[in-house]
Assembly symmetry: C2
Homo-oligomer: 456 residues x 2
């Protein structure tokens, strides 16, 4: 038995057999290895070895492995096959995997491959290739089981037995009318747990949850999560059933959407590729515009500091607490904004809750600001020994900065959403820049008030 924790051992075994050129045992072990792990194995090989291993696979595995391969590894295999072999291979793939493969190829190559495909399929392929990238349509496949409303359980089982091999799932079967409008679905569980002469119409579940071809993939993922389905039907504007989406394609979307939010919140343009696949140059290109924008925004603090130069020069000790004050503001704001952004992304909170959220953050700010101010005051008094006045100035500023940061951190992401922007852009870097400026102005004004009241 192959436990998942042992899969790196399995890869070592495969590698050893390949080095020994022991084709017989390699082929045997490949038959006992999950296609996903074979894909990982092939991706580490040279073009020559990759092709050798690929040729050893039994047909079903070869198709599954090919579907899993990265584009560059697919190329390795492709160069070893002639055009006819290659278009046969593509033909055998699940429809959605074929589309994914074709999408990454130059249009000229796609047309050449499609020449060997029958006209009806070619038409469908061309239609799929045109769907927008993040839409429900781009995730769907036309390979679902369609049943007729008049069938019995026996007839349905016969149909599934006949056509089920080519379908991505047989566990949810869809029933449509003559215009392809969706009437409902029947689960295979219901089919096999009922008698052979039961009418499918009596098992039909009519209130189907569906998604539209144009829906965003994030919405689709939320629908899957909310209802716990393993497949969802996709309908077009005329409410005709055009395809289905299965849950295995959705788990990646949930992760990918979180990754995108992490990237935006770290002030980077979201990346198409995985981190490990990107060059230093491409990474830099996604980061520089944001760094530049934030640097220029934070230059506003220079102007503020310059205008208070006189105060600083007269009480130079004020200066030493600036980074501590701005950092604390930034941290307090980033806690609030991150939690609010995430709560909106997971649909825990929506725009209508804005007043509740701001009021909650305001109270959180008062509580945490109070403790920070207290500790800050004690530190200034007894550790830095800067005297009562400066310690008080620092403590009052800390309280103010933390409360402001919490409110700004809660308001801005919700404001961004209100304006139709991605709330994730209102994450710590931008919040920090804004809170820094506010904090400095307050700090020096409080200082000036103290000085006016009782010159230090």
């Amino acid at each position: 038995m192959d436990r998942y924790t042992d899969y790196s051992k399995r890869l070592d075994e495969l590698r050893a057999l390949l080095e020994k050129k022991d084709g017989t045992n390699l082929s045997k072990l490949l038959r006992r290895t999950n296609p996903v792990d074979i894909e990982e194995f092939i991706s580490t090989l040279s073009a020559e070895d990759a092709l050798l291993v690929f040729r050893l696979l039994k047909k079903d595995d070869a198709i599954e492995v090919f579907a899993e391969l990265e584009q560059e590894d697919k190329e390795k295999i492709k160069t070893g096959l002639n055009d006819v072999e290659y278009s046969h291979l593509l033909d055998e793939l699940d429809f959605d995997d074929m589309i994914d493969t074709l999408e990454e190829m130059p249009a000229s190559v796609v047309q050449k491959i499609l020449r060997n495909t029958d006209p009806e399929k070619r038409k469908k392929v061309n239609q799929y290739l045109k769907f927008p990238e993040d839409s429900a349509a781009s995730l769907m496949t036309p390979e679902f089981v369609e049943l007729k409303i008049g069938m019995t359980v026996k007839e349905a089982l016969d149909t599934i037995k006949r056509i089920g091999h080519d379908k991505v799932t047989v566990y949810t079967c869809y029933v449509t009318d003559e215009t392809k409008k969706l009437l409902g679905y029947v689960s295979l569980r219901n089919i096999v747990t009922n008698d052979m002469d039961t009418k499918i119409s009596t098992l039909l579940y009519e209130d189907v949850i569906t998604v539209n071809t144009s829906d965003d993939q994030e919405e689709v993922a939320h629908t899957f999560q909310k209802y716990g389905f393993t497949a969802l039907p996709v309908i077009d504007k005329e409410k005709r059933l055009v395809g289905i989406i299965t849950v295995d394609d959705i788990m990646w979307i949930i992760e990918q959407e979180a990754t995108e939010d992490f990237q935006i919140m770290a002030a980077t343009t979201p990346e198409e590729e995985e981190y490990s696949k990107m060059s230093a140059w491409d990474l830099a290109k996604n980061r520089i515009p944001w760094l530049m924008f934030l640097m220029i925004s934070s230059a506003f603090t220079s102007t503020i500091l310059r205008s208070y130069e006189a105060v600083i020069q007269s009480i130079i000790a004020l200066n030493m607490f600036i980074p501590m004050l701005t950092d604390s503001g930034g941290n307090a704001g980033s806690q609030a904004s991150t939690l609010v952004i995430r709560a909106m992304a997971t649909k825990d909170v929506d725009l209508s809750d804005w007043a509740k959220v701001v009021w909650k953050e305001c109270r959180v700010g008062l509580i945490s600001g109070f403790f920070l101010a207290l500790v800050g005051f004690l530190k200034c008094m007894f550790f830095d020994k800067v005297g009562l006045e400066i310690s008080l100035i620092v403590a009052v500023t800390l309280l103010f900065v933390v409360v402001t940061a919490k409110i700004v951190g809660a308001l801005l992401p919700m404001g961004a959403m209100k304006l139709g922007l991605d709330p994730a852009i209102m994450a710590s870097p931008l919040i920090t820049t804004i809170v820094d400026s506010l904090g400095l102005i307050v700090y020096f004004n409080i200082a000036q008030m103290f000085i006016a009241a009782a010159p230090l």
Copy 2:
């Protein structure tokens, strides 16, 4: 047909019928509404109305709705039922839903309820209640279909028809030997697409991917994602099959693990509850220790600034660029650390890649640092008009700070992982604090060198 985008309209319809006390139509409409949406509806109602709606549901829906309800809404229903009714309801739940419900109750209530349960089930419940919270075991259910190796397709279908109603899935059926050791699985797809007299043993898939009872739920989620399964068998130390985990419970884990990382990266103790359900006091309690720790760490900058007071006082213009420099360092470091933390969380990068990652970030730092230094220099020269020397000091420091921030931002999360800590703690707030101190030291040292070479 009930499109998911219309679900809020459906809730309004239900509410209107409830207000009119139109039980007949309310009951009809409830039959056409997904249990998940009914759960949302009930959660907005008073205890009295909730019970009224719950009583209108047909039995299967009632069970599903109850499983979905939040603890406080379950309480609303519970108060309206007597002990026997309530333990019957619990009995009808899927095993994992029952465990989830019992887990949130006081032990005394659980024991009282279990008194009405048969001894064997009670033993199993008690065993499940003891599994650690984030383990594979806590996600599993014993309600899977078990087949015998000697069966034919017909016998398997008969078994599934007989026992399938009570199982969380019938789509993957598990075959064990007499000691309960897992021999392999058969998919229902393979069963229904083969002839009635085919032996199950010929359809058996032996190289099963399994998880262990003690595996962390995050590992389990990754196994689901990697292989695209809808169910995974769970085995104990003796390799006996003890339960299965289904994909619908996993989609939440993927989201929850990302949320936990967001919280840690924003310097908050991860929260058990959703944001909207937490009080200001609890939120503050999770944030204060981190804010305090970071404030005290950043106090190190005060010591640095104090020790360079003489330099600042002689060239007060240096002072105005401090926030811009520290902010840029913080931003550059947070880009690197967030991307590296996320790449590790999604298994794109692991510890063995550390040298590659650091070298990549070093190059990213040089490229982005160069452009930032250039723009920073021009801004100092022509906008702030602080003269060539200070402009040069700022530019050189910017380059240094960005490169250092990138390297520190890449190294620290990997270091944390090496030490067995959660890499997410090495996110922007801590990186900012460290880079701030380094940046200030470099800034003033470069300044001193310039002053020594050519007094301003």
